[in-house]
């Protein structure tokens, strides 16, 4: 039935329809980023290329990806933005990366914004001295374990060397881990460059500095690319506690500096958001021998599958039984919730344009609700996030990607220890279909004939809604009120509209309820005043 729906809409005509409105060169470029999907013969999509100036994009910048996304959620590092005031201000409490520092004496700097607040004299004469002084003041006021410096656009241009400043200040305060990021906004084509820069920094400055993690259970994992939006990481932490597996590091939702420092002691890395953290996953593998596998805690079935993967990986019958018990317990409430929601949601349609993994993950939840995803795409994904990692060797490295430092890591002299032999990994793949160091991308999971669009423009978004009238559109704050003015509810998948958590079983239930609420909300039916409706209603009767 779903496929008929997709076929009837003639989504394949969309590209033709929209690109004719663009100037010729622009049309040619955009055409390559709008493709009709076929999971059996995955098409090539253009991604991670420069946005066309003036097109009105969803994308942000490198600083946002580095400071805002990857490092922002860690509570005990003082994050100093080196630049004019804006960048620090806009990344101050605007993402919902929740954190829980249980005891009053524990550090939590997340409600604070720290900036060197550069003035014109700092631009003319350089800002390094001001940055040093800012670090001294942060140290005197807060005595943090770590201080991170984030570069904004002018910093790179005027030649301030934040890494040199970090080294110098570390000499002044040897007990504090001080490090910098060259994450100027103009580097790269989107937030994605910032993720990469952040990953490199995590590896160089934090990971592997502490060999003594707090341990409670026999097995230990990392969850990478999970940022605790709306409390997702809390749900995941709870699941691991209940199955009796130590969660060494979550990168970086509800995290602390110590979690990064001990991440290399885990035995398995589960990767949620492949785009933002795959570099660290790879480095942990290469340096310390920790295999990683793609995981997904978005969707009840996906959560069960991910947990089972953990059981299969460690191959411990007791663990497997604990996992099954948790799944059984949780599925009772999940089933009741989804059955109730499905009465309202089955047969409806969704569109998802968000992030670098969410547009993929959330399709699971819509599937569970009996809804069809008509079209989806990322803001800052790469081809591998669409087509799968198999295409990585074929991706042409352009000037924008070449700007980003590519660090080569080697097996650690003393601590490299492959957690599984090649044979064991091969057996796990054969027996349980666990793919290691692999992500198959969004396209394998989307139906034939659906539309995949990278870096959707405002114009394309308007056209999608006008032509195909989805029941729910998923994107972010910049799109929210545009789409709703058209009378279509928009579900924010960056900040969940203050909802969530949406991860795990408990999160799935929250999501079902929220989508049910959206489906049943009557306010959008009141957009016309009664006197404006009369003619329309009569006309409808005639045609019916």
């Amino acid at each position: 039935m779903a496929n008929t729906l997709i076929d009837d809409l003639k989504l394949d005509k969309f590209a033709e329809e929209v690109i004719k409105a663009y100037p010729k060169k622009v049309a040619k470029k955009r055409a390559k980023s709008i493709v009709v999907n076929d999971p059996d013969a995955i098409p090539v999509i253009q991604a991670n290329v420069r946005t066309i100036p003036g097109i009105i994009t969803q994308r942000g910048c490198t600083y946002a990806g580095c400071k805002g996304v990857v490092l922002g959620p860690t509570r005990d590092i003082v994050n100093i933005t080196h630049g004019p005031i804006g960048c620090g201000f806009y990344s101050w409490l605007t993402r919902r990366n929740q954190t829980r520092a249980d005891k009053p004496e524990m550090d939590n700097f997340i409600p604070y914004c720290f900036s060197t607040d550069m003035q014109d004299s700092n631009i003319v004469f350089g800002g390094e001295e001001k940055l040093k002084q800012a670090i001294r003041e942060a140290h005197e006021l807060f005595h943090p374990k770590g201080i991170a410096i984030f570069s904004t656009c002018p910093v790179g241009l005027i030649g301030d060397d934040v890494h040199r400043v970090a080294r110098q200040m570390k000499e002044e305060f040897p007990e504090v881990n001080i490090f910098g990021f060259s994450c100027e906004g103009y580097r790269g084509v989107s937030q994605s460059a910032g993720h990469h820069i952040a990953n490199n920094g995590l590896y160089k400055n934090l990971i592997g500095r502490n060999d003594n993690p707090k341990r409670k259970y026999k097995y230990a994992v990392n969850v990478l690319g999970e940022y605790n939006i709306g409390g997702d990481a809390f749900v995941i932490e709870d699941l691991f506690e209940r199955i009796g597996v130590d969660l060494i590091a979550t990168m970086s939702g509800n995290s602390t500096l110590e979690q990064f420092e001990t991440a290399h002691t885990a035995d398995f890395s589960l990767v949620m958001c492949h785009r933002s953290i795959n570099y660290v996953a790879e480095m942990l593998e290469t340096s310390f021998g920790i295999p990683w596998a793609k995981a997904n805690f978005i969707g009840a079935e996906a959560t069960a599958k991910t947990l089972r993967k953990v059981g299969q990986y460690f191959g411990d019958q007791e663990l497997i039984e604990r996992i099954e018990k948790v799944i059984d317990e949780e599925m009772v409430a999940v089933k009741a919730a989804v059955d109730s929601a499905r009465e309202k949601t089955t047969g409806k349609t969704a569109m998802l344009f968000v992030g670098g993994s969410r547009a993929h993950h959330y399709q699971e939840l819509f599937d569970e609700l009996g809804m069809t995803t008509l079209t989806a795409g990322y803001e800052f994904g790469h081809r591998d996030d669409y087509e799968g990692r198999r295409v990585i060797p074929t991706i042409q490295i352009d000037a924008d990607s070449r700007n980003i430092e590519e660090i080569t890591v080697y097996p650690d002299a003393t601590r490299y220890k492959p957690r599984k032999t090649e044979e064991e990994l091969a057996k796990l793949k054969e027996e349980f279909d666990i793919e290691f160091n692999e992500y198959k991308g969004l396209m394998t999971d989307m139906k034939k004939g659906t539309l995949v669009i990278d870096d959707l423009s405002h114009f394309e978004m308007e056209k999608l809604i006008e032509l195909y009238k989805p029941d729910v559109f998923c994107a972010g704050i910049k799109e929210k009120y545009v789409v709703q003015k058209m009378g279509i509810p928009l579900k924010q998948l960056h900040n969940y509209d203050n909802g969530g958590p949406y991860a795990g079983f408990a999160g799935a239930i929250n999501f079902y309820k929220d989508i049910e609420m959206i489906s049943c909300s009557t306010i959008f039916k009141q957009m016309k005043a009664p006197w404006e409706n009369e003619e329309l209603v009569e006309a409808e009767y005639v045609f019916n």
């Binding site: 201000f89 003041e137 009378g487």
Partner: protein
């Protein structure tokens, strides 16, 4: 505690700003440009600037905020942003068809020194600016001034580019709106219309950032100052600026270009500032202030008199922008309240001088403007000696919760409560709205925390 690291002990900070009471120029320029009908703001810099500003304004207004970006790459940062901007202009006119593209710069394009006049000329020469369409710009380096400077610069740029003097002066008064809400723009227009004064208000966010939900998205909503009015403003007989830091430049430009005299007033927050606004408008429009407005004033005074017991002597901490803080502080003092701590990240002689005057009878009052006049410092002052009320943007909720202080949201951004774009804070009715919010906050805390036997049925 949310702000668990904030203690009473101040140090002599010279470099670190913590929890700023300001943001950067470009967002103000973007906001100002949205108050002109058919205008598409454009951010000449990295994508992140535009994304952050659109997000910040969307969160605050819960309305669509449209703007383009030049999407600088490392290449454009080295070789200049001309190619990017010329293409952006072409794409925006082709796809989005605005009447005006209003460009503001960023710290990035300012640092590399892009020549905006030359780039726009190049776009024109290449045929990317259709006949009858307009591209204007203003410089908004983020490392100079603050968001209110950007607002001021963009408003001044509209005067410079569009106000056109002809030999025939009209019996119209220009009203230049400082940084305020659409609801305030609407209220100021209402006050003028009650007086039957002919005015041109610019920029005008009403009808733009309070647009109806009716199933039709309009990229350029019906509101905003029209281009026609903006051109005609050059023939008006007088200009009143509302808010010195955000409108004085526009008023001066108008005088220089169109020989129109002006007066810059405080934003009409509270009865005294509203009195001055109405009297000035009455004088220059040569019309009496109608009884209806006297009655509105009387209603406000009545409301304050009824509430006086709860307002008298209450210590208040405020943060925000000079143009709103000055009349707001004056209003609080006129209600016998004690504004004791006031900070703004915007360096401002207007703020410093006027606060000294307004607070001269409150010796314990501390106020500060500029770098490091931030919310962290204000919170430290509160730790030293507490206050009874907080008035400022949403970032105050963290202090309010930690210290259990009643909190009235005012300013930018307000991201956690709806309605500020619908309910004015200016004029007598806006002041009444403010008094109600203050009373609700103070009385809610008393009702919540007083001993059971002290719970009162009436106030």
């Amino acid at each position: 505690m949310l702000l668990r690291h904030t203690t009473a002990k101040e140090i002599d900070r010279k470099a670190l700003t913590i929890n700023p009471a300001k943001t950067c120029q470009p967002v103000g320029a973007m906001y100002a440009a949205l108050g002109f009908h058919g205008c598409l703001p454009h951010s000449h810099g990295s994508q992140g600037c535009c994304s952050y500003h659109r997000s910040a304004l969307s969160r605050h207004f819960r309305e669509p905020i449209m703007a383009g970006t030049s999407s600088f790459s490392e290449g454009s940062s080295v070789f200049g942003g001309q190619a990017n901007l010329v293409q952006a202009i072409d794409v925006m006119f082709t796809v989005y068809n605005p009447e005006i593209i209003a460009i503001h710069t960023t710290c990035l394009s300012e640092t590399i020194g892009d020549d905006m006049t030359a780039i726009i000329a190049k776009a024109k020469e290449d045929g990317h600016i259709p006949e009858g369409k307009n591209v204007i710009y203003c410089n908004t380096p983020s490392y100079v001034g603050t968001h209110v400077t950007g607002y001021s610069n963009m408003v001044a740029s509209f005067v410079k580019n569009f106000a056109t003097p002809t030999p025939k002066k009209r019996n119209v008064v220009n009203l230049v709106a400082g940084w305020m809400e659409p609801s305030d723009n609407a209220e100021i227009k209402r006050l003028a219309s009650v007086m039957e004064a002919r005015t041109i208000l610019f920029p005008d966010m009403s009808g733009v950032l309070d647009a109806p939900l009716n199933g039709h998205y309009k990229m350029y909503p019906d509101g905003g100052t029209s281009l026609t009015d903006m051109k005609l403003s050059g023939d008006s007989k007088f200009t009143i600026g509302l808010g010195p830091t955000t409108t004085a430049d526009a008023c001066i430009k108008m005088e220089n270009k169109c020989k129109i005299k002006f007066e810059v007033l405080d934003i009409p927050i509270g009865f005294k500032a509203t009195d001055r606004f109405l009297m000035t408008l009455s004088r220059h429009a040569n019309l009496p202030i109608p009884e209806k407005l006297s009655d509105e004033r009387g209603q406000l005074i009545d409301l304050i008199a009824d509430s006086a017991k709860y307002l008298y002597g209450k210590r208040v901490a405020l943060w925000g922008d000079p143009d709103t803080l000055v009349p707001l502080t004056e209003f609080l003092v006129s209600m016998d309240m004690k504004p004791v701590y006031i900070v703004t990240g915007t360096q401002s002689p207007y703020f410093n001088d006027r606060m000294a005057e307004i607070l001269k009878d409150i010796p314990e009052a501390k106020f500060m403007s500029g770098e490091r006049a931030d919310m962290f410092r204000m919170h430290q002052w509160i730790k030293q000696q507490g206050v009874d009320l907080l008035i400022g943007n949403t970032y105050g909720k963290y202090i309010a919760r930690d210290e259990d202080i009643p909190f009235v949201r005012f300013g930018f951004p307000i991201t956690d409560r709806p309605g500020h774009n619908y309910f004015a804070k200016t004029g007598y009715q806006g002041a009444a709205n403010l008094v109600k919010q203050i009373m609700d906050a103070i009385l809610d805390k008393i009702d919540r925390t007083c001993p059971e036997e002290k719970v009162e049925f009436q106030f």
